[in-house]
């Protein structure tokens, strides 16, 4: 199997889907001539022309709405946000138009659209460019939210997103674009709403998603050296969430830690913990703990940023605590 970067995996998915379906087009800031702010759309303008690969003005609200309108009458837009940090300007169209149109029209107008781009913090980009948006977006009925953590999942989930009949939000990671992994060539589709056990163990369940999958695997590797073997449950999709995968793991290990990139309050972990307490109450041997960003805007200084972010060390500490090994 070919080893490719997360960036190229996304690029493959876009290219293959645009070849497969002429209704699919890509729109966003710098996606065409500049070849993508993060080069995810590299070569697509040359291959598909400016009818299907469209540079927009810097106008997130406007072009998100253009995408919704195009989807409403039968096209299948892929709208790139340079980052989800800028997409906050477009949320009216994402939430009030895309997510609700099918429902408020009594089922007449599905909105098959993909909104995609990097989410979360990179390095020293400070407060306005460093926010993980999953928990905001997964709150909304009518949306599907996927957060691929590996190149294979990036390709497979983006292809599923393009084919889905609903608004699907794909949250990528700036820090993931250069990561490498095995990716099946050609048709490779990862179903939306299905988690994957990325590491198998019996002592604790570490439930995570997106960029934190790599952090979780680092933590699992280090713990394995101490003889602690954990399940790493990669949610992959945070809405709809694969509750069965979470509960199956927790029933096996009887302990759980939830690791997410964003803030604690109303975070992904809050929802996971709710499922666990409802479905696995009698299975738990310890309270479920959460690892997340510190409850502050992201600072600029290197040391402060490091302290703010969730990482492998914090994750390991949490796992040891639920195993009562932290004394």
């Amino acid at each position: 199997m070919a080893v490719v970067t997360y960036r190229d995996a996304l690029n493959q998915a876009l290219r293959e889907e645009m070849e497969r379906d002429e209704r699919v087009f890509l729109m966003g800031e710098e996606v065409a001539v500049y070849q993508g702010a993060y080069k995810v759309s590299k070569g697509l303008l040359q291959e598909f022309g400016d009818r299907r690969v469209i540079d927009t003005p810097i106008t997130e609200l406007g072009f998100a709405g253009v995408g919704v309108g195009a989807a409403m009458v039968g096209l299948r837009p892929v709208v790139e946000f340079m980052t989800w940090n800028f997409a906050v300007l477009a949320l009216d169209q994402v939430v009030n138009s895309a997510a609700k149109m099918l429902y408020m029209s009594g089922g007449q107008f599905p909105i098959p659209i993909v909104f995609r781009g990097p989410s979360g913090a990179a390095l020293q980009l400070a407060a306005q460019h460093s926010q993980a948006w999953e928990s905001w977006l997964m709150h909304i009925p009518g949306l599907k939210v996927v957060t691929p953590g590996t190149p294979a999942d990036a390709k497979g989930l983006l292809k599923s997103a393009v084919r889905d009949g609903n608004p699907v939000l794909v949250l990528e990671g700036e820090m993931l674009y250069n990561t490498r992994g095995e990716v099946p060539e050609g048709e490779h589709v990862v179903p939306i709403g299905v988690a994957e056990l990325k590491r198998e163990g019996e002592h604790c369940s570490l439930i995570t998603n997106g960029k934190m999958v790599l952090v979780a695997l680092q933590a699992a590797d280090q713990l394995a050296k101490e003889g602690i073997r954990i399940d790493v449950v990669d949610l992959r999709t945070v809405r709809p969430m694969d509750v069965a995968a979470i509960t199956a793991s927790v029933r096996k290990t009887n302990r759980a830690v939830v690791l997410e990139e964003g803030w604690e309050v109303c975070g992904i972990g809050a929802q996971v913990v709710d499922y666990v307490q409802r479905e696995c109450f009698d299975d738990l041997d310890a309270p479920v703990l959460r690892v997340h960003q510190v409850d502050t805007p992201m600072p600029y200084a290197k040391n402060l940023e490091r302290a703010a972010k969730p990482d492998a060390a914090k994750t390991i500490a949490a796992i040891k605590r639920v195993l009562y090994l932290d004394s």
């Binding site: 253009v66 195009a70 408020m104 007449q108 599905p110 909105i111 009949g165």
Partner: protein, 369 residues
Amino acid sequence: MTRTRSAGPAPQALAPQAPPAAAAATNGAPAGGPSGDRGLHRHLLREMLLQRRFEERCAEAYALGKIGGFCHLYIGQEGTGTGAISVLRDDDYVITTYRDHAQAIARGIPPRAVMAELFGKATGCSHGKGGSMHLFSRERNFLGGHGIVAGNIPIATGVAFAIKYRGGDQVCLCFFGEAAVNNGAFHEALNMAGLWRLPVIYIIENNRYGMGTALERASAINDIAERARAYNMPRSVVDGQDVLTVRAVVGEAVERARREQLPTLIEARTYRFMGHSMSDAVSGTYRSKAELEEHLKRDPIALLRARMHERGEITDEEVAQLDAEVRAVCEDAWQFADSSPEPTLDALTSDVTAETESTAGAPIAAARS
């Protein structure tokens, strides 16, 4: 640049196209479509009368608690929506705001389905899940009533984008109020429509007030059609109370959109005779009774009727007959809505997401040339 001041009847070049077939069937226009000016004028008069009587029944139903939520009536503005929508083909698109009942009817959604939606019934045009502000019809390419001011403007732009993408010659008609032109979504969307030359006609229904805030208190310029200059877009100002002039000006813009794929911004100067919604006084707070009375003299229905009288196109008896007809249509719509079933409880959780891969959206016809 287009700038229409003429108050005359529709020029020959734009003259009488048949109204949408479904509208004719639904609203009882003469079989075979209107013939010549007289038929057209009679059709437009009947459409506006129907909308007026329908909205009056809505006010009544709202007072009785049969309609809930917010309810924004179109009374006074009928000339704009009726004239504009009358030039469209069935395969064109209409998208509008929360003040959408009358435009939905003008576009050919049966009054029964509109009233049933307002009553929150399963037989409503959005199956009881949209209500007053969210009327939709896929069959009639009516892309909604939208509740966020200016939110429909980028969507209309995307519909036009899709038309051009597919090589079609349809157009998208997009209605919004004058207060929306101060919103970022308006500017973002018009910039792209001008930049990409999209077949969309933006119609500002300038009824003078965004809720209770007068245009002059909200906009840095009063001649708001001038905003089109910033986006390299043809523009027109039209008397929105004159249905025939609206029809002529919109018809010209529609032809330009079909032929050259150019967008147009049209400011229709109109006035709403009622409050912003059912919850505010008609006058006395943000506008005076005297001002209202002055505008009532330019009722779009009375203006067309007077013109038809002048030309000998209609008699008082015929007007009374038309009025009786449309009242009967509204009564029938009311009875239908009132006796229709509520949505079943499984409707609560249906249509949150589409079950399967969608082939989505109303079809876009292939290019005609």
